[in-house]
């Protein structure tokens, strides 16, 4: 038991740090914003250091319910980094509305996500997922005075609760027909043949998790929640929980249902459907969106679809592709949402309408260029680095014999390119409107945008060997 505790340092740090942040908030009042923020940031940084220190360890703790391995480590680093950025950018956005709970909630959400990504048992999975979800529901409605924010929180909660119910039902079926909640045990049961009960279990578990990654047809909440939630929270939703849920799904599918054997055929077709539906709907739905946050919501649905292509391959190569994709996607998404946060009109309000970006490249050339890099990168146009993860998922699909899926994916990616370049058209080709947009960002935010844009430009290619090695060592855990 004590030995186990030594292996979950990141979780312990986050729990204690989150509680300290909460206590500080309760006793010091809402004025000491900087203090809570600092406490939360330090907590996340310490947890990340702990994860890094444990890198390379491969163990199973607490009677096999939680894994400490490279796969979880990769996920946690990415999740903590994204959470770190989302806390760092918040105070300037919220201004006087900033409260201590924000930082604490993100820390708890990060804790839940870390548990999701390292769970090896259906019950741990559920606990982690709910810890993350409950924090997220509150975060979505963080701007209590804003109708859209409250609406977003309510929608997220109602649909999220439904999804949790579906997931729990699936878990109960898996437990009922395999007699265990342990991933390895479920896998053993699956290897003996997938009966109707297990099949339903698979379907419901995947459906519940598809809600979390906002894969079509469980995506309906995404545009509304992304639009309504405060932008730093949207940034958070679009980055860290996506990583956690996607990696959880990967672990469940590969670990609990087996990369080979009878279960593969069962879940592979579900994933193929989810991926194609997400790519198509994400691409088509984004056309005609006028709000940049809504558009980025559809873009995230679209990107999840591409990640699922890698997952559908069901091979180690496919999982590596998914991990690389997640990393590049998180960097791009954070950059794009930071861009959204930079722009304010003359009254200091956020500018979220795409037509208002007209002529931006003349007044804010650097900012517009960075956004152009993000968008071209999301559209996977080489030489930008966004091309590379897409290449990897298609390669994994082709190597797994899923050529039609890869062809369908690339063809639909052209539709996706349309709306990305439409934003670039607004920024670069259109004439300036009357409304004045100014850059209301801080230097730190500018630096984050700049660094991510630089990394996504050709420079990223130099990191391929390193990325490939990391992804390979993380993915090899599952095989």
């Amino acid at each position: 038991m004590t030995a186990d505790l030594a292996l979950v340092w990141p979780e312990l740090i986050l729990t204690i740090g989150g509680l300290i942040t909460l206590m500080l908030g309760a006793f010091a009042g809402d004025r000491q914003v900087g203090l809570y923020q600092l406490a939360a940031l330090l907590t996340l940084a310490a947890a990340a250091v702990a994860v890094a220190a444990l890198f390379g360890t491969q163990a199973s703790v607490f009677s096999g319910t939680l894994a400490v391995d490279g796969f979880g480590g990769f996920a946690k680093l990415l999740i903590y980094a994204a959470s770190f950025v989302c806390i760092a950018i918040a105070p300037r956005y919220f201004g006087d509305a900033m409260r201590a709970e924000y930082s604490a909630l993100i820390v708890f959400a990060a804790l839940g996500m870390g548990i999701m990504a390292s769970s090896r048992d259906l019950m741990t999975l559920y606990v982690g997922l709910e810890l993350n979800s409950l924090a997220s529901y509150v975060l979505a409605s963080f701007m209590r005075g804003d109708d859209r924010s409250s609406e977003a929180g309510l929608k997220y909660f109602v649909l999220g609760a439904l999804a949790s119910g579906i997931l729990l039902f699936g878990i109960s079926l898996l437990y009922g027909f395999s007699g265990t909640t342990d991933f390895a045990g479920v896998a053993t049961a699956m290897a003996g043949g997938v009966n109707i009960g297990l099949l339903f279990g698979i379907v419901f578990v995947v459906a519940g998790l598809a809600f979390k990654i906002s894969a079509v047809p469980f995506h309906m909440w995404t545009p509304d929640v992304y639009e309504g939630a405060p932008t730093p929270v949207t940034t958070f939703f679009a980055s860290a929980p996506k990583v956690a849920a996607m990696m959880l799904l990967t672990r469940v599918l590969i670990d609990a249902m087996g990369p080979a054997g009878p279960a593969l055929a069962a879940w592979q077709q579900i994933i193929i459907f989810l991926s194609l539906a997400s790519i198509i709907l994400g691409a088509v739905g984004a056309i005609g969106q006028k709000n940049i946050k809504r558009l980025l919501a559809y873009s995230s649905i679209n990107n999840v679809g591409f990640m699922l292509i890698g997952l559908a391959a069901g091979t180690q190569q496919g999982v590596e592709a998914v991990l690389t994709y997640l990393l590049v996607y998180v960097v791009t998404t954070i950059g794009a949402f930071l861009f959204v946060m930079q722009l304010r009109d003359a009254d200091g309000r956020m500018v979220e309408s795409i037509p208002a970006y007209a002529g931006l490249s003349k007044r804010q050339p650097g900012l517009a260029a960075a956004m152009a890099v993000f968008l071209f990168s999301l559209a996977a146009i080489p030489p930008l680095f966004g091309f590379w993860p897409k290449y990897l998922v298609f390669e994994a699909a082709v190597n797994a014999g899923l050529v039609p899926l890869a062809v369908a994916g690339v063809v639909v990616s052209v539709i996706g390119a349309f709306y990305y370049i439409a934003i670039i058209k607004t920024m670069y080709f259109d004439e300036e409107p009357e409304t004045v947009i100014r850059n209301g960002g801080s230097r730190v935010e500018g630096a984050v945008i700049g660094v991510s844009a630089l990394w996504l430009s050709v420079i990223g290619y130099l990191f391929i060997p390193m990325l490939a090695a990391t992804a390979a060592s993380a993915a090899s855990v599952l095989f």
């Binding site: 146009i381 890869a406 063809v411």
Partner: protein
């Protein structure tokens, strides 16, 4: 010489200059761009001068294992080298052509052109399949911005059409490339060139590559993005688009589709011939009725590129050499013709043919140059166009006399639309007052026309300078195609679609000719 990574240097100089251009005012940006492109041109000449004709197939080879899964591998054969020289030759002229006409966001404009130069050189020099794809596809970004920001009235439509059309073609090629890499286990182009893919697989791979290259070329019926893009692009954008970007498609045919998939190439010979024949006649006729000068030249480009595809698919030495000369010649001549349009567009701001007339009176020097390039486009002996067209048609005739017959009508139609254009713009009465007020060429325009004209004549009088470095590569390709060639049976395949109508005499002639082809 041997230690200098000349190709990497040629890529680095414009890349650095492009970044510099983003941060400076208009004037220094122009100077930086001109300086960088001139240095690159000098390096291009060095490349040509140091190219060992008859030496190794791949020269100036560089490789660095930078990306793990694929490499930074550069190297050129004669064909790639000549196309790089063409790109570096046109680039400073493009910068000069935009010297005065571009007034807005000059830094960004120059940066985009320099990026384009990097990409063009990269496409031709890449020796790694993925590196090639990255460059090949990367051209979309600068061209999209060039058309969209500095284009004409309907620029946004043209920019979108260009971008999405070309992207759709390219992504299918990407899947084919993944399949090739999986099958052959390598991304190195020189190895892939000699890898024998299974014939059924070749068919699919060929079709996927064809989707990409045919759009890039462009071949009928997927050429419709080209007139829009040309008409809307700024003058220099059209020059580089017609001069070099279209050659990426034919380069792809020659570099990838023919040597890598010889069986499929033979199998689809009829398709290439048929599309080329339609393109030559149809687009020439369309060119004849255009009222917009740029559109006319754009359609003429499609017709010329169709002769290139037909020449390449003749699978013999003359045909391919001729096609290569047309590529180079068209690169120079069409760029020059677009600049001819640009010169008078800068003065009158219209591309309507009917708004001009009688320019020979007040712009004699301009009329002279325009005449030269018109003749070169038609293929008058003594100009570059003649050499290429004669060689490629001779090659096509060996493969299929019907295809040669139809393609040759393109020359006649070409003469018709070009001379008709010339007559309406340059000859006739000088009646319009605003046209009367147009001054003749200024020194900057002279500086652009003279090198273009010199090269067009040089290529027409002594094509050997250009052919010599490429001959060995053509022989290699022909040898690679030789085993598949009889299986393709060009006569039947290409002759059939039109075979119902012709008189018996022709059919006999063709059958007779069949015996003569080895």
């Amino acid at each position: 010489m041997s230690g200098l990574p000349i190709l990497s240097l040629m890529l680095a100089i414009p890349a650095i200059a492009a970044i510099a251009c983003l941060f400076v005012e208009a004037k220094p940006a122009r100077m930086i761009a001109l300086g960088a492109t001139l240095v690159d041109f000098a390096l291009g000449i060095m490349l040509w001068a140091n190219f060992d004709i008859g030496g190794a197939q791949w020269q100036f080879v560089e490789r660095a294992d930078l990306f793990g899964r694929f490499q930074w591998a550069l190297g050129v054969d004669g064909v790639a080298m000549m196309l790089i020289v063409l790109s570096t030759f046109l680039m400073p002229l493009c910068i000069l052509a935009s010297w005065e006409s571009i007034k807005q966001r000059v830094g960004l404009y120059m940066a985009m052109f320099l990026v384009m130069e990097v990409i063009m050189i990269g496409v031709f020099a890449a020796q790694d399949l993925l590196l090639f794809y990255i460059f090949f596809e990367g051209v979309l970004i600068p061209m999209y911005l060039i058309i969209g920001i500095w284009g004409g009235q309907n620029r946004i439509y043209a920019a979108f059409k260009f971008f999405l059309y070309t992207l759709l073609g390219s992504v299918l090629m990407l899947v084919a490339m993944i399949a090739m890499i999986r099958e052959a286990g390598t991304t190195e182009i020189p190895v892939l060139l000699n890898y024998n893919f299974p014939p059924e697989m070749q068919t699919w791979l060929w079709l996927a590559f064809f989707a990409s290259m045919a759009v890039k070329m462009p071949m009928w019926p997927v050429h419709t993005w080209l007139p829009d893009a040309h008409v809307q692009a700024p003058t220099a954008g059209s020059m580089i688009l017609a001069g070099v970007l279209l050659k990426m498609g034919s380069y792809g045919f020659l570099r990838f589709m023919m040597p890598m998939f010889p069986d499929a190439s033979a199998q689809f010979m009829w398709l290439v011939f048929a599309l080329s024949m339609v393109a030559v006649v149809y687009t020439s006729l369309v060119a004849l009725v255009q009222s917009d000068m740029k559109k006319l030249i754009a359609y003429s480009s499609v017709a010329h590129m169709a002769i290139v595809t037909a020449g390449l698919y003749a699978f013999n030495q003359q045909g391919i050499e001729g096609a290569l000369i047309i590529m180079l010649s068209h690169g120079v001549v069409s760029a020059a013709l677009f600049f001819c349009v640009g010169v008078i567009y800068d003065r009158l701001h219209t591309r309507e043919i009917s708004r001009y007339g009688g320019l020979a009176v007040n712009m004699p020097a301009y009329a002279l140059f325009f005449m030269l390039f018109t003749m070169a486009s038609i293929g008058l002996p003594g100009t570059s166009g003649f050499v290429g067209e004669f060689l490629s048609l001779a090659g096509i005739y060996e493969a299929s006399s019907w295809a040669a017959f139809v393609c040759t009508t393109g020359i006649i139609l070409g003469a018709a639309y070009m001379l008709y254009l010339y007559r309406r713009v340059v000859f006739g009465e000088l009646t319009k007052d605003d046209v009367k007020a147009m001054p003749d060429l200024n020194p900057r325009e002279w500086a652009i026309f003279v090198p273009l004209a010199a090269v067009a004549v040089w290529m027409g009088v002594y094509p050997e300078s250009f052919l010599a470095p490429m001959r060995g590569d053509v022989t290699t390709v022909v040898a690679r195609l030789a085993p598949a060639k009889p299986a393709g049976d060009a006569h039947l395949a290409a002759g059939k679609p039109k075979a119902a109508a012709p008189a018996h005499g022709n059919a006999k002639g063709e059958a007779h000719h069949a015996g003569g082809v080895q």
